[in-house]
């Protein structure tokens, strides 16, 4: 029971400009389940990518030791041949192949290139029985629901008889009864001597399942406990506890009048029928207020903003009131007409147009404003974009510079300028400072503060705790598509936010 099967020693992984893992150490014993918990961006996924061979050994520093022997993994196949199997959050299933083929892809039984379907199906039935899945081995995977697929991807790893099994948030797509089966299955694997690493935000699961728990924060190993020797509060503190630097020039400009009220907002899951990403939430926003929205990635925060903005409309239910008037928002166009702007999270995917210039990018959401008759008024466009570009201090040779040549921070400023050109009353900002440097961050916070002073109201989704705490006048926390806390300014702290974020 105490024999160590895996050690990761002094692992450091750098990305350009960021240290994702800084001298991380981990050890895993035979027949135990080790939980790993930490905030978004704490380095959990990166650490597992190191272990699985997704990064070649020269791309990071540190050592992986299996059964006392140092190993170098340059690709995933090398890690697999050492008995390490990963089950990822995203399920990479071959949708148009059968259940059996998916489970045994890469090691189909058979001889001389012919598949032995009889053995394959027999082996598959055994695995399906273990997983409590009532499926036929020849059934296609496409029509299955995501819980069944998640179980299949777990069984695919189990089928390879791994010595070390890594699960990354395996229960996000599972129903309660499926979680039960998963727990039971992992218990059986542990008893048969398999070692597991179990990554989860859900402390409840960690307590139920794991023997020990490792806390990561900002790429550091913080602590490692036997699970029966640590209380939940300690774990939460250790997950969030870090110094807050003073880069937040926040002053409050909240007025009494309400500018936005959203009632009964529900957003269905795009792939799982009958499941909701956001379920019947309501909130309001006052003039000049910054309303923070906290919670874990995937809790339904971005979807809430997108649904109010008209980005998602399919089966979305909502009532939106702007300055007390009920309005219909069925497309982004309607939202813009009602004075809303939306700085989205993934600027490459839906924020910037990389081959177009700063001028064209800033003008794209306000073409009516700069068009007279049929034609675009080039002079007016130039003047207005220039004014904003100076105000936001966008660093570029000139306004004709293509967006691809700008840094992430400057791209983000261009996106903000795009919405400011419309003189919005309300700004939605989804992770406004994600992936930008500290200097530009400070600029951004100053701008947000200035905007609220001018009477603009902001809804800000953020996973950056210090940002959320310092910039919000009020804070909602969303977990599993529901609001689990509404915190007034003085109540907003890391513990309260984290506690609500992991609440069921």
């Amino acid at each position: 029971m105490n024999e160590t099967v895996l050690e990761m020693r002094h692992v450091t992984k750098r990305f350009p400009g960021v240290i994702a893992l800084d001298d991380v150490n981990l050890d895993l014993r035979k027949g135990e389940i080790l939980g790993i918990c930490g905030e978004n961006g704490a380095g959990k996924s990166t650490l597992m990518k190191v272990l699985s061979g997704s990064f070649a050994s020269r791309e990071y520093e540190g050592e992986i030791v299996i059964d006392g022997k140092p190993q170098t993994f340059d690709n995933v196949a090398m890690a697999q041949s050492s008995g390490i199997e990963m089950v990822y959050q995203e399920m990479n299933m071959m949708l148009d192949s059968s259940v059996a083929e998916n489970l045994f892809v890469g090691n189909l039984p058979g001889r001389r290139g012919w598949v032995d379907y009889k053995t394959l199906y027999a082996n598959t039935r055994e695995l399906l029985k273990q997983a409590g899945l009532d499926l036929d081995p020849g059934e296609l995977v496409r029509p299955l629901n995501s819980g069944q697929m998640q179980m299949l991807s777990l069984m695919r790893a189990v089928a390879k008889k791994p010595r070390i099994l890594v699960l990354d948030e395996p229960t996000t797509a599972l129903t309660d009864s499926e979680v039960e089966i998963l727990m039971k299955l992992l218990g059986q694997l542990r008893d048969s001597g398999v070692s597991c690493i179990y990554i989860s935000h859900k402390l409840e699961e960690i307590y139920k399942l794991c023997d020990r728990v490792l806390v990561l924060r900002d790429g550091h190993t913080i602590s490692c406990y036997d699970i029966d020797k640590v209380v939940e509060a300690t774990l939460i503190e250790e997950m969030v506890g870090r110094k807050v630097e003073n880069l937040y020039p926040k002053t409050s400009h909240v007025c009494e009048e309400e500018v936005l009220r959203v009632e009964h907002l529900s957003v269905p899951h795009p792939n799982i029928r009958g499941k909701y990403i956001v379920e019947d939430i309501s909130f309001s926003l006052k003039k000049g207020e910054i309303l923070g929205i906290g919670g874990l990635v995937g809790a339904g925060r971005s979807e809430s903003l997108g649904a109010v903005f008209g980005q998602y409309t399919n089966h979305v239910k909502k009532e939106v009131y702007i300055e007390g008037q009920k309005v219909e928002i069925n497309s982004p166009k309607d939202a813009i007409a009602n004075g809303i702007g939306f700085v989205t999270e993934e600027r490459k995917r839906n924020g910037i147009i990389w081959m177009l210039s700063i001028r064209e990018n800033v003008a794209v959401a306000s073409l009516d404003k700069i068009t007279s008759g049929m034609f675009i008024d080039g002079k007016k466009e130039e003047e207005q974009v220039k004014e904003l570009s100076d105000k936001l201090r966008i660093k570029a040779p000139n306004l004709e510079t293509k967006l691809i040549q700008l840094s992430g921070g400057n791209q983000q400023k261009v996106i903000l300028a795009k919405w400011l050109l419309n003189n919005p009353k309300i700004l939605f900002m989804d992770e406004p400072t994600k992936g930008i440097d500290v200097g530009t961050k400070a600029d951004f916070y100053q701008l947000m503060s200035d905007l609220t002073k001018q009477g603009v109201s902001i809804v800000m989704v953020s996973s950056d705790m210090p940002e959320l705490i310092s910039m919000s006048d009020r804070c909602l926390v969303i977990s599993n598509g529901r609001i689990t806390a509404e915190l007034e300014k003085e109540q907003i702290n890391e513990i309260n936010v984290m506690r609500a974020a992991i609440a069921e």
């Binding site: 982004p332 166009k333 995917r349 177009l356 064209e360 034609f375 675009i376 080039g378 691809i404 040549q405």
Partner: protein
């Protein structure tokens, strides 16, 4: 010194990529056969350029919007046949026949938009299918026979000249200027660039993405049908396969002219130069007595090379800083 750097800057623009090859080709062809420079021959080159440019100009907009269309040549065939049928079999006056043909072009464009925009299916393969369907329809409805017997005044469009210049050249120039202005100066033009540059961003900026893409698709088909009328007029007969195969050369012209297959950027002037280059090469092959069997091989190679160049151009601009 400053002038020189200005010149360099001008020629390094993607739409100017065709200028150097045009000069090289002109020199080579002229050395092999000085008849190339005969006024009559130069007029022929310009005339050939005008036909492909009439379609290449709207196709440039479609490429910029992120689309693609292999059905243009089939719509051109259809346009000639419909116009000929309207005049010869239905006895409609010329203006009415032209209107009917353009309406058929609109319908083709709407069907295409319905498939690739509304159902959001991949344009390349779907318009290839449409090409076969339309060409098939043309052959079935005519038994493959040309339609002839038009009044003399119908010849003006394809054979007539104004002050010595063919009408099709004048039309192509005017069309090019209008589309250029639309693309660079109007709100709609800006929307085309935004949609092709990043559909998600365009949608979130309040642009009706489907509407924009549909209009551009219709524009391409209408002008392809119009080109069919011009060809019927030029040959005084509507032929079922007159444009078959031209979709590839027209697409090559647009790409050689610096328009990206991936959408977002491109210019009308570039496409004009691309059309000119291919017309020069085509003409040169004849003048240099190269067997016409070589044409397919050469044009295929040009298409492949132009797409490779497009890829490198994009990568270069991607790593620009």
């Amino acid at each position: 010194m400053k002038n020189k750097s200005k010149m360099t800057a001008m020629f390094s623009r993607p739409e100017m990529g065709a200028v150097l090859p045009i000069i090289v080709m002109v020199v080579i062809i002229g050395m092999v056969n000085p008849n190339f420079f005969a006024v009559r021959n130069l007029v022929d080159v310009a005339r050939a350029t005008s036909y492909s440019f009439i379609i290449a100009a709207p196709l440039t907009c479609l490429f910029i919007s992120g689309g693609s269309d292999l059905s243009v040549s089939a719509v051109t065939n259809l346009g000639g046949i419909v116009c000929g049928w309207a005049m010869a079999s239905m006895g409609l006056p010329i203006p009415l026949a032209v209107l009917v043909t353009l309406a058929v072009g609109v319908v083709c464009g709407l069907i295409k938009a319905g498939i690739v925009v509304k159902l959001s299916l991949p344009p390349f393969i779907m318009t290839l299918g449409l090409q076969y369907v339309i060409n098939g329809f043309v052959l079935v409805s005519t038994n493959g026979l040309p339609i002839t017997g038009f009044s003399d005044s119908f010849k003006v469009l394809g054979q007539g000249r104004l002050a010595g210049v063919y009408w099709t050249i004048i039309i192509a120039v005017i069309e090019g200027i209008l589309i250029h202005i639309m693309l660079t100066r109007t709100k709609f033009g800006r929307q085309i660039c935004a949609v092709g540059g990043n559909q998600e961003t365009a949608k979130l900026a309040g642009i009706d993405v489907n509407k924009t893409r549909t209009i551009v698709n219709v524009l391409v088909s209408v002008l392809a049908a119009f080109c069919g009328i011009c060809m019927a007029s030029r040959f005084n007969s509507a032929q079922t396969t007159v444009a078959t195969g031209t979709e590839m050369t027209i697409m090559s012209s647009v790409i050689i002219g610096g328009t990206s297959m991936m959408g977002g950027s491109g210019t009308i002037i570039g496409s004009l130069l691309g059309c000119l280059l291919l017309a020069v090469i085509n003409n040169g092959l004849v003048l240099m007595h190269v067997s016409s069997f070589w044409q397919n091989l050469i044009f295929g190679a040009i298409l492949i090379i132009s797409i490779i160049i497009d890829k490198y151009r994009r990568e270069k601009s991607g790593s620009g800083l």
